[in-house]
């Protein structure tokens, strides 16, 4: 993989910065000067360490807040998201600082907070539903923010982000155009993508277009399922996303780049499918009935 994968289209246009310069930034990356070995510097207590430098992982939640989400769906979603935050807190451990960013889309596209918030400090702001489903606009906004100059600005290393889309309906704008833009973004390309369709109207094919495969798309038809699926996807994807890849054991040959390409995304698909197949909760009343 080369550096130009992670370019910021907007900046390239406006400032005419070559893609490589974007990451070979002398300000952010400069090796330490040679040590002077002065023992008169008293900031030398072998016990006064700061935390090991962490890799950063941003989990993006893209949430449909259109009018059709009103009522039980939104209530369930708000509740499960509140409960989910403490569960995700445990996944980072010593290696990874996990941050959360929530983008809601209805008639307008809106971030819950103006920046990704560290999971330790994150508090869920309850969402309300109204308006139409501007999914394409959400994709464009995500593309815009998934950049080193915006939301992914950690000076240290980052893991590719987790992007989790939840929707209950058909997009009311040109989602394809938005998706095309998003697909040029390297963070999206290497990111872990998963999607949850809620109720009968949500179209799994569109969601698979977004995630890149059917394995990472699940569907919830009831409140109980909604809560379960959100937890399964969010916890599994943040677990995989916040850790280095785990290797399979029986390779028998030297691993090449092609063996590891998108390994995490494949693993996510497998694990989601496994978990979904063991958890089927059919007793709840479907969302679309009994209104």
């Amino acid at each position: 993989m080369s550096n130009e994968h992670f370019t910021e289209p907007e900046v390239n246009e406006n400032q005419n910065v070559s893609p490589l310069d974007d990451f070979d930034n002398a300000e952010t990356v400069s090796a330490a000067p040679k040590s002077d070995n002065s023992i008169l510097d008293f900031d030398d207590d072998p016990l006064s360490a700061t935390s090991v430098s962490k890799k950063s992982l941003v989990i993006f939640f893209l949430i449909d807040t259109s009018g059709s989400m009103k009522g039980k769906k939104m209530g369930e979603l708000n509740t499960v998201m509140e409960e989910l935050i403490p569960e995700i807190r445990r996944v980072g451990e010593a290696d990874t600082e996990v941050k959360v960013a929530v983008l809601t889309f209805s008639t307008e596209v809106r971030w819950m907070y103006s920046n990704p918030i560290p999971i330790e400090d994150f508090e869920w702001a309850r969402l309300r539903a109204s308006g139409v489903t501007s999914m394409g606009a959400a994709f464009k906004e995500l593309n815009h923010r998934m950049s080193r100059n915006s939301f992914l600005n950690s000076p240290s290393l980052s893991f590719a982000p987790v992007i989790f889309l939840m929707t209950d309906g058909y997009p009311s704008d040109d989602y394809k155009e938005g998706l095309r833009e998003l697909q040029t973004n390297s963070w999206y390309k290497f990111g872990l993508k998963a999607a949850l369709g809620i109720g009968q109207e949500a179209n799994d094919n569109i969601l698979a277009e977004f995630t890149g495969s059917k394995d990472t798309v699940v569907h919830a038809y009831s409140g109980g399922q909604l809560a379960q699926m959100i937890k399964i996807i969010a916890v599994t994807s943040s677990q995989i996303g916040s850790k280095s890849m785990t290797l399979s054991d029986d390779t028998g040959h030297e691993i090449g780049e092609e063996d590891v390409f998108a390994a995490k995304q494949k693993l996510l698909g497998q694990q989601i499918q496994e978990l979904v197949s063991t958890k089927t909760d059919g007793d709840d009343v479907p969302f679309d009935t009994g209104w």
Binding site: V29, A49, S53, R89, E120, L157, A160, W187, I255
Partner: protein, 447 residues
């Protein structure tokens, strides 16, 4: 996977039932529960056998480990297997982590998050070693545990920061997650994670074994002392996003140590790797050289990796070179002024420290009030690095007079100012003076 319910009872292999009380945690291979069995509380690890490539062989290996017993009391070792469920699912129970131990992860984080049960908010509680001596003792304990394991012909396989509990007051260590331990040469499906895995395992050209354990051990020691990743420097940070292929490159195919003397392409980056930059300056050369060897020639040639016994000697030396000055400054002697061949001087307050030379060491050891030496340092055949043999104390009846107290169970001889050697029985002591000579038996020492 089949998770257990709270209150569910799991049948043990040799009878009895373990009742599930709560969830302790979950990992890549399964979930750990708090259970009650035979009136006692235990930890039960319950496997997700779908994630295992060879569950039957894995269970057999676990059974063998239980039969063999732990190499020492430093291991939270599997105790009993459960009966196999109809679908082949199984688990094992082990003792619970005792009070007073923190996870290695919390030490690296420098705090642990305690969650307020009412609000769900996390409160940070600092976790750090109480004394420098406790930290170095912890390192010796880790090295010693792996020496014992490897001497038993077994390898740990997936050594990483989740594998230890540490007492920050004493440096005591408990090795946990012992279920992947296997006879050297066999592997039951565990890979590990890049960063801790030896490069040849990352590349897929070797399976975990005793030699790859040695690499992982060096990473663990480096992280504990230098608080950073030995392979993460400028070269890695330039990639911005750590994708699967960049991990393969930086931890496998083209791993470069941040302080490789012959390759400066991957130096630590100020603002990101400040710990490493700071601590690399502090440690004496013999420690730095051991890490350089581990992470340069040791990358491509597993036989060049430092063996546990060598690490143990280096860190016993490092512990003996800690100076605790009256002004509060505590550091290794390498960070004090080497006044002359036999004296160190505190750069902060000017206090001087005489040194003592042991006949079995080619370096001199500083003396200060409260400094200790251990059994292994005066008895050649001893491996006991925790039993204090001698301590520098102030005479209780003659304030201001410093001497060495015999804390061992052997009789020593010491030369007094009158030029004669006197017997020093256990519990007795003798003053430190210019011409002091001590005869411990096989080992002698001289001011």
């Amino acid at each position: 996977m089949i998770e257990l319910e709270i209150g569910q009872e799991v049948e043990m292999e040799f009878g009895g039932k373990a009742k599930v009380l709560s969830v302790i945690g979950s990992g890549g291979q399964g979930v750990v529960y708090l259970v009650r069995f035979n009136g006692q509380k235990w930890a039960l690890k319950w496997y997700d056998i779908n994630k295992m490539s060879k569950p039957a062989a894995f269970r057999k290996n676990l059974q063998n480990n239980i039969n063999d017993g732990p190499p020492s009391n430093k291991f939270l070792w599997p105790k009993y297997l459960t009966k196999e469920a109809e679908d082949g699912t199984f688990g094992y129970i082990m003792e619970l982590k005792p009070e007073g131990f923190d996870s290695f992860v919390d030490i690296l984080n420098t705090y642990k998050l305690e969650v307020d049960p009412l609000t769900g908010r996390g409160v940070k509680r600092p976790v750090k070693f109480n004394t420098l001596s406790a930290m170095v003792t912890c390192v010796i304990n880790i090295v010693n545990a792996f020496r014992q394991l490897h001497r038993a012909g077994k390898s740990y396989q997936d050594l990483n920061d989740g594998g230890f509990f540490i007492n920050v007051n004493t440096g005591a260590v408990l090795v946990c997650d012992c279920d992947n331990i296997a006879p050297d040469g066999s592997n039951f499906g565990i890979g590990g994670k890049p960063g801790y895995m030896a490069p040849e395992v990352v590349r897929g050209i070797a399976q975990p074994n005793v030699q790859t354990d040695k690499y992982s051990l060096a990473v663990v020691l480096f992280k504990l002392l230098f608080r950073g990743d030995p392979m993460e420097g400028e070269k890695v940070v330039k990639d911005v996003c750590l994708t699967e292929s960049s991990e393969l490159k930086h931890y496998g195919q083209n791993a470069v140590f941040v302080y490789d003397p012959d390759d400066d392409s991957n130096r630590p980056v100020r603002g990101i790797h400040d710990n490493i930059i700071k601590f690399w300056r502090i440690y004496p050369d013999y420690i730095k050289e051991a890490f350089i060897r581990s992470f340069t020639t040791g990358i491509s040639d597993p036989t060049k990796r430092i063996i546990e016994n060598e690490w143990q000697k280096l860190f016993i030396r490092l512990r003996s070179e800690i100076i605790q000055c009256g002004c509060g400054r505590t550091n290794f002697s390498s960070m004090f002024i080497h006044q002359n061949e036999k004296t160190f001087k505190c750069p902060k307050c000017g206090m001087e420290f005489v040194t003592i030379g042991f006949s079995n060491r080619d370096y001199r050891t500083p003396l200060y009030l409260g400094c200790k030496f251990y059994q292994c340092e005066i008895i050649p055949e001893s491996d006991d690095f925790t039993a204090v043999a001698g301590e520098l104390v102030e005479n209780k009846l003659k304030p201001g007079v410093l001497g060495i107290k015999n804390c061992s169970d052997r009789q020593w001889k010491a030369k007094m100012p009158d030029g004669e050697f006197y017997d020093i029985a256990p519990g007795k002591g003798f003053p430190v003076w210019q011409g002091l000579e001590i005869d411990f038996g096989e080992v002698k020492a001289q001011i």
